[in-house]
């Protein structure tokens, strides 16, 4: 019963910058996730790699050390995800990063998916029929 938490570009930006007005909000979600993980609940925070590109998150750059250390995992745009994302992009007319979020939502085997985003409308569009918990920041 894994709970997958997906970050969008704005969530990544907010988390990376302590001066960002939404920083505490996203830190709070990460804190709750960490506390639940420590209680043995299967929960993962991930970032689609296309979102990482959009955000400028280079894991080799020291500026991104906080996010790297928080063990936020990559979900790569592999062949399967690329096919799904291409279809979503075609149908929903969304940027590549949003299409990749949609592919993650649609392809995951996790029991529950949450997306932390500044654009709930796009997330619901790319999720199609898949149930998704959307947190608007």
């Amino acid at each position: 019963m894994t709970h997958l938490i997906v970050l969008d570009n704005e969530a990544v930006q907010a988390l990376s910058d302590p001066a960002h007005k939404k920083h505490v909000r996203v830190i709070s979600h990460v804190r709750v996730a960490a506390d639940r993980k420590s209680r043995g609940l299967p929960i993962r925070i991930v970032v689609p790699t296309a979102v990482r590109v959009e955000a400028g998150w280079d894991r080799t750059e020291p500026a991104w050390a906080l996010l790297n250390r928080l063990l936020i995992g990559d979900i790569t745009l592999d062949g399967l995800n690329a096919n799904i994302a291409a279809s979503i992009r075609q149908d929903a007319r969304v940027p590549v990063a949003d299409a990749h979020i949609g592919a993650v939502i649609q392809a995951t085997t996790a029991a529950k998916v949450t997306v932390v985003t500044s654009d709930p409308g796009d997330v619901r569009r790319v999720a199609a029929d898949r149930e998704v918990n959307v947190i608007t920041i």
């Binding site: 830190i27 709070s28 979600h29 506390d35 993980k37 299967p42 918990n133």
Partner: protein, 137 residues
């Protein structure tokens, strides 16, 4: 070794792959080992007791890392420390809780709970907020 050095070393080890294994002299309670064996054999909890133990240990280490990083972050940036109210709102949002859309109510509940229970958890706050939301009969 300071906290971040320890975090980086643990992360490096967690990411270095699982190909190399070693026998360990770690002693665990016999009953715990036997319980794990039953969980694997009868409940299909994992492919083996080793896999079950390894997964649990990995998840535990990941949680330790995440919490240590967050603690270090708020030590360096005290303004980034979430309040109990912030955490309760985040917990509600992650759960899709009915009160997630009522942050003011959750914040008020957090103030009330924290006044009596300084070590309260976000879930305690949500329970209190929910109880307060039930109309008196």
């Amino acid at each position: 070794m300071d906290v971040l050095q320890a975090v980086d070393r643990i992360t490096e080890l967690l990411e270095s792959g699982i190909g190399q294994t070693s026998n360990t002299s770690m002693r665990i309670p016999t009953a715990l080992r036997d319980a794990a064996a039953v969980a694997v054999r009868e409940l299909g909890a994992a492919s083996s007791t080793t896999a079950l133990t390894t997964a649990a240990l990995r998840a535990s280490l990941e949680a330790v890392v995440m919490r240590a990083v967050l603690d270090d972050h708020v030590r360096q940036h005290p303004e980034a420390r979430p309040t109990l109210g912030d955490l309760a709102i985040a917990a509600a949002e992650l759960d899709g809780h009915p009160l997630a859309g009522e942050p003011a109510r959750i914040r008020q509940a957090a103030v009330e709970v924290e006044a009596r229970h300084p070590d309260a958890e976000p879930e305690d706050v949500l329970l209190w907020a929910e109880a307060r939301a039930i109309p008196a009969s």
